[in-house]
């Protein structure tokens, strides 16, 4: 490479040549465009699993834009159920997809052989929380689902999407997609700062998508061993803070569901809970959860709220006290089966 050394003349303070700066600018733009083109070529050759062909996101907490891509077509007999949930729906402790309750529910539904092809799309984010569910609910509109199943509990309505921790999911990228953003309440966008120009650029360029692919996962993000029992029961944020935050997030969720899925039945299920793993504060919170949900979703005729908190015995949970074992997943799927059937039957009528 030819290297031009600095000539003494360039030290002299002189009028700049504007042409030189135009060339520099063109070179920058050209360089960046070339890199974007290269990234496009690479990105388009990457095969991303979607929720239609993978029972859970193979990229763990990343790649939510790709994993929740809507399909091009829909079969006439297809019944589409979107499950939005947290790590309990993900079953990170086991590598086998078939143990996940979403898979088991899909299998049970299809075993009915009623002529329908049931698809249970498992949108469970390990560590997922309310803001992510809101983004996923908005994303669901593009899939034209027959039903939304939101399996959640009080603690999901505590944590913020911001500040985005290193290991958090990239579901916030969904908020920059126009077919998601249009359903999001303006206040939600403001509160969770889904208006960062750099993040917008990351979501809308191939280079940005490639960057997201390259992001290094946080430690223990994809291990298959059940974690050791915690030293102490899971404590929670202060009760008052929880109420304030939860109220806000429930309102955002309802607003989003009304805007994105005005005619779709939505079933919100309080997830199975292991009482022994929680502090009294947490249990108090859990008890408040359903009444508060009911108060918020009263105005939404599509929403049904159910409680599954005590359907799984404590010994069916892993030692971490939060996630249930494969047999628990089976029990939960069996519990959900009539719920789904009844809901879908109601629509058919």
């Amino acid at each position: 490479m030819a290297v031009q050394t600095l000539s003494p003349e360039t030290h002299i303070k002189s009028t700049q040549s504007w042409g030189r700066y135009v060339i520099i600018l063109v070179a920058i733009v050209g360089f960046v465009m070339a890199a974007e083109g290269l990234a496009a070529m690479i990105y388009q050759h990457i095969e991303f699993a979607t929720s239609y062909d993978a029972p859970r996101n193979p990229n763990f907490r990343r790649g939510w834009v790709e994993y929740t891509r809507p399909p091009a077509t829909r079969e006439p007999n297809e019944r589409r159920i979107i499950l939005i949930s947290n790590s309990q729906g993900f079953l990170r402790e086991r590598p086998e997809d078939e143990f996940v309750y979403a898979s088991q529910l899909e299998m049970l539904l299809n075993q009915q052989a009623d002529g329908s092809n049931y698809q249970v799309l498992n949108w469970s984010i390990p560590g997922g929380n309310a803001p992510e569910y809101i983004l996923l609910a908005a994303r669901a509109a593009a899939h034209d689902p027959d039903m939304i199943l939101l399996v959640t509990y009080s603690q999901d309505f505590v944590e913020d999407l911001h500040p985005i921790a290193f290991y958090i999911s990239d579901a916030n990228r969904l908020g920059y997609l126009s077919d998601v953003r249009r359903y999001l309440p303006a206040e939600f966008i403001r509160q969770y700062a889904i208006n960062d120009p750099l993040a917008w650029l990351e979501a809308h360029t191939y280079l940005g998508n490639m960057r997201n692919r390259l992001e290094i996962p946080q430690n223990d993000s994809w291990t298959w061993e059940a974690r050791e029992k915690r030293d102490r029961p899971r404590g929670l944020h202060r009760f008052k803070e929880w109420i304030e935050q939860a109220e806000r997030e429930m309102q955002f969720l309802n607003d989003t569901l009304l805007a994105a899925l005005p005619d779709t039945p939505i079933v919100i299920v309080q997830t199975p809970i292991n009482d022994l793993a929680f502090t009294q504060d947490s249990l108090n919170q859990a008890e408040q959860f359903i009444p508060r949900l009911q108060a918020h979703f009263e105005s939404n005729p599509n929403v049904t709220i159910l409680n599954a908190s005590d359907i799984i015995a404590p010994e069916t949970f892993y030692p971490d006290g939060v996630h249930f074992r494969p047999e628990g997943h089976r029990q939960f799927a069996e519990w959900l089966l009539p719920v789904v059937n009844n809901t879908l039957e109601t629509i058919s009528r």
Binding site: L6, T10, S14, I23, A27, V32, L201, L207, M210, N219
Partner: protein, 475 residues
């Protein structure tokens, strides 16, 4: 406002085009106003303090130049010192002092009824206080003529590129550059923008990534191996963070044709602790040397007094960083190391020249210096003095298994930390081998454009997911 924020991008797009068309007083006025906006972005009340300091020292400087009466000059200097250090004391140290008195009182069983004040520390107060103090001290010493232009002086105090975290400039170097618009050459622009981009890269890619792992270890439970790695990582994080800020400051000033002093000269290849302080935060160490160490007697009063002066200066330098015992210990430790080195250098008649090329035998000195500095960083990074001592204690007392396994970090993260440190250290070596020759000599516009485009892309692709404030903003 911080350099690595979208707001600053918009700010720069407003400041520089207007700067290009203005001259003289309107230009200075423009830059002062914009510097105040830059400074007051988070809290406009801070501007009052900045303005107060400016008015005080401008007037004291003028009055001092009008009199030959030594007593009156001394009194004026005292007013400047009291005004500036008083503000610094109230805003930065009053809480610390009252808390310390409370602690001592509690220890001896006496109730001390004063609550520490709940004062928010104004950003950059330590930096601009030292900068403006140097102005009055230099006038007092007869080394500087005061400026007649209030706008030039206000700009000297508030010049936005270096206002918040330095380099701490001297009026003898900066003030005259601000009195008149400096012509900007193509070379200034290219070098300035390259420096800004490089500084941003150091900050948002290298420093912020290292910062994530350092926080993972220091804010949670970890093994000795984690702590060792994180302490080294912090050493590089703080270097990249602070020198990155200095690069951006120097680059921004250079775009306006203004020369700021270098603040870092690849410090982790220093052969002894004295050299380290000539390569690390140079603007502070030279300030401490000129305005504290030399007035205390410097090296003119024997080796014992020299060592004592060094320790005193470094102790105060530590406290300059923060009103916390851990910073005092940080300074004290480095001061002791410097004192010991001074005695060693006197006994063995060791002399070194900053520009000497490195030799293989220097490796031992570099290693010892690095370890000495590493110990100090534990105090700098730990949440408290107690925690810092715990970490250091664990280094020497805990069982060997703690040295062989990672607990807070996984292998991939540890590898990434090591790679980032190796790159940074590699840049140190590369630069020293270059022996001060400019690395980037390309001036062909296509090459410059491609280089800038490459840096922008590199930052875009690899910036850390959590953007942090510059570490030195807290001081």
């Amino acid at each position: 406002m911080i350099f690595n924020s979208p707001e600053f991008g918009i700010f720069a797009l407003i400041v520089f085009p207007v700067y290009a068309v203005l001259r003289g007083k309107p230009l200075r006025f423009w830059l002062v106003v914009m510097s105040y906006i830059f400074y007051g972005w988070a809290n406009p009340w801070y501007i009052l303090l900045l303005l107060g300091s400016t008015v005080l020292d401008f007037n004291i400087g003028k009055r001092m130049s009008r009199t030959d009466d030594a007593r009156r000059r001394k009194m004026l200097l005292a007013m400047s010192l009291i005004g500036n250090l008083g503000a610094l004391g109230i805003f930065k140290y009053s809480g610390f002092v009252i808390r310390s008195i409370n602690d001592i009182a509690a220890t001896i069983g006496v109730a001390f009824p004063v609550e520490p004040p709940d004062i928010l520390l104004p950003i950059g107060i330590s930096f601009y206080t030292f900068q403006t103090l140097s102005y009055t001290i230099d006038i007092y010493r007869g080394q500087l003529e005061p400026t007649d232009s209030f706008s030039a002086f206000a700009l000297y105090v508030a010049f936005f590129p270096q206002l918040v975290a330095g380099p701490i400039e001297r009026a003898t170097h900066l003030l005259h550059q601000l009195e008149e618009k400096q012509p900007t050459t193509t070379d200034d622009l290219i070098t300035g923008i390259t420096r800004v981009l490089w500084g941003l890269t150091k900050k948002i890619v290298f420093a912020d990534y290292l910062g994530i792992y350092v926080a993972t270890v220091y804010d949670g439970g970890a093994s000795n191996l984690d702590y060792l790695l994180a302490t080294y990582a912090f050493a590089f994080q703080i270097y990249l963070d602070f020198s990155g800020y200095s690069d951006i400051a120097i680059g921004l000033a250079r775009i306006m044709g203004i020369d700021l002093r270098e603040n870092f000269l690849w410090p982790y290849l220093s052969r002894n602790i004295s050299e380290f302080w000539q390569r690390w935060h140079i603007s502070l160490s030279t300030w401490l040397r000129d305005y504290l160490y030399i007035p205390l007697g410097g090296s003119r009063k024997g080796s014992a007094r020299t060592a004592a002066n060094v320790v005193i200066v470094m102790f105060l330098g530590g406290l300059w960083h923060g009103a916390d015992l851990k910073f005092a210990i940080w300074g004290l430790w480095l001061g002791l190391a410097l004192g010991v080195y001074h005695i060693y250098a006197l006994i063995f008649k060791k002399k070194f020249n900053l520009d000497d090329s490195l030799r293989w035998r220097d490796v031992i000195g570099i290693f010892i210096t690095l370890q000495t500095v590493m110990i100090s960083w534990v105090f700098f990074r730990a949440d408290s003095t107690t925690r810092a001592f715990n970490i250091l204690e664990n280094f020497v007392t805990r069982d060997l298994r703690n040295w062989t396994r990672l607990r807070a970090l996984n292998e991939e993260e540890a590898l990434l930390v090591v790679v980032l440190m190796v790159i940074t250290f590699g840049l140190h070596i590369f630069h020293r081998l270059q022996q001060g020759r400019a690395f980037l000599k390309w001036r062909h516009p296509v090459l410059v454009g491609a280089f800038w485009g490459g840096l922008i892309l590199f930052m875009f692709m690899f910036h850390a997911p959590t953007g942090e404030r510059f570490i030195y903003f807290q001081f």
